[in-house]
Amino acid sequence: MSEKMASKAAAQGVTRRELLKGTAALTGAAVGSGVIGAPMIWAQNLKDVTLNQVGPSYSVIADIAEKASADLGFKIVPQTSETTQLMAKVVNQPETIDIADLEFWGLQKVYRSGNLQPVDITKIKMWGDITPLMRDGKSFDGSDMARQGTLPVKVLYTDSAESTEFAAAPTGLATAMPTIYNADTLGIRPDLVGREISSWVELFNPEFKGKTALVNIPSIGIMDAAMALEARGDLKYVDKGNMTKEEIDKTIDALIALKKDGQFRAFWSTFDESVNLMAAGEVVIQSMWSPAVTAVKSRNIPCVYQGLKEGYRGWGVGMGLMRHLEGIKLEAAYEYLNWYLTGWQGAFIARQGYYSSVPETAKANLSENERGYWYEGKAATEDIKDPYGNIMDKAGSSRDGGSFEQRMGNIACWNAVMDEDRYMIQRWNEFVSS
């Protein structure tokens, strides 16, 4: 049967490629039907490959896809989709995606759908250069990183191509290839706060009543709240990223009390909402993403991504390969993944405040001034520009929170999905509607 089909395909190949030499045509047709593999022919066909990369707007960026397409010769089509929608797509419409840029908590949730295939790490040339933060869950001094929440390494490996479970220890098969990550904290308006802010507890300080905001993504908002409650001494969590029902109840009850007192001005859902709340002076301290702080700053409004003594909330993104990728498309996907680690993307993403999974290549692609500012915690020697060339910080200033090691080394918990997620969402809805 398969022989018959192959010969039929070959026959069609000959008629379609009458101008080509017969042998080449036969080989090409055979490759096309997946019978044998000959890299020589792939180089020719690679140009026709199109890969759909889908992921959140801070990860899947048109400029990066364009540069990659130019360097690699095949086409990367970027499509943005926030993690929540992306999870739904991976589960329900896997065929619309080739490469999924999933946050690790999203990966934790959807990997068991079986719609992703593992990344063979032997095909990633620079796998060994990926930072131990991502690869092994080890900090800079070799000690274990905080394990609260979805520490990337917890969901980074799997045992076999068919398995939909995560492996406890590193294996040769990765569920995704780590790309970008950062340490999140609170954004503040130093001009309106008027004093030093050094602890998460300030989010719930009555001094800022009616001038604080939380992110309305339940799994992340509750963690910011937990950081503040723990700092206030309300309770000590075993794992802020995976609370027990009792811990969820205590957290939400405290939040409801704060809300009734008028502590919050808003709960934002989108990036631009958080920017506008801050820029308009509606809030002076709130949950925020790093590029949002940059966006406020580039409007000439003072805004600081304040490092706090209890530590940061970390997150990371990995590139996952969809299960349906095979043959030449899969090869192209691996080429793209390898390209991703070579530094151009790392440097681009550094300019919006994120770190690359291979910091060395990213640093090599940055100017000395940029490298000092973004990675080394040094004061800028000249103006710092964002990826699109707008000035975002003046010469002489340095990055909030300091160097790569100071920021990433001080992560207290990671964005996560809880086992009691369903219960948490229900209680979060109650909090918002109270």
Binding site: A88, A280, E282, V417, D421, N429, S433, S434
Partner: protein
Amino acid sequence: MSGRSSPSGSRLAPYLQVAPLAFLMLTMVGIPLVTVVMLSFWEFDGIAVYPAFTWANYAEVLGSPVTLKLFLATLKYALLTLVATTVIGFTCSYFLVFHVRSLKLQIGLFLLCTIPFWTSNVIRMVSWIPFLGREGLFNSMLIQAGLIDRPLDILLYSDFAVVLTYIHLFTLFMIVPIFNSMAKIDSNLIEAARDAGATPAQILWNVIIPLSKTGIALGSIFVVTLVMGDFFVVRVMSGGQSASVVSAMKNNIDQLYYPVASAMAVLLVAVVLLMVTAILRVVDIRSELAR
């Protein structure tokens, strides 16, 4: 149909005429609705759903005090908006129909009412934010006029802002049907009432309102269904501080909890259907429209 069609063809004609709409309703409303109802009984394990029959989703939705709270909050918005839009819609229509003598002016003014609709809902909604904000136009105006010395926080990110936006967005849906039924009122009726010695208030109460009730009912159906099904206005204008039934549904959908969201959706459809039935009970729209 033309005379060329056979007798059997003419019997078919009404079915053919209704076919395009029936097809659209079936594919765009019927099938999705059936899917939602089906899904609300299915089992799920956190990411995937399995065909089965379980009451668990309903048990979760109905067993939670949040559901009642959400429905009450949404109903509160619907009622506040309904009252305000009815009063505004009725007054505007009354003015247009009974005070503006020239037909041209009437049409001109009516078109003025539609001008806000030349931009999108989202823009009309978002434009309130810089106006009402803490450092917004309205607050700075009040402060400069010396009426207040601290900005009013209640103007934005509050229930006030939500209802205000609803009124702004949906009043036209009230004006159009009320205007339409008022314009149909025979002026002789009003004259007769006046000749019989009725006061203007009596004319309004005993003649105009009863004859406008089809319009009020139709407008109410529009407004109620629009408010009950909204989540975007609530989210943006309350600054995420209030929830509606649909915004809670969205939180569930975002986490892939489709069956729970479906159960809530079915519940919402049931409540809205009840409300529409109640409105139709009060006013027999079909017979009134045939008038």
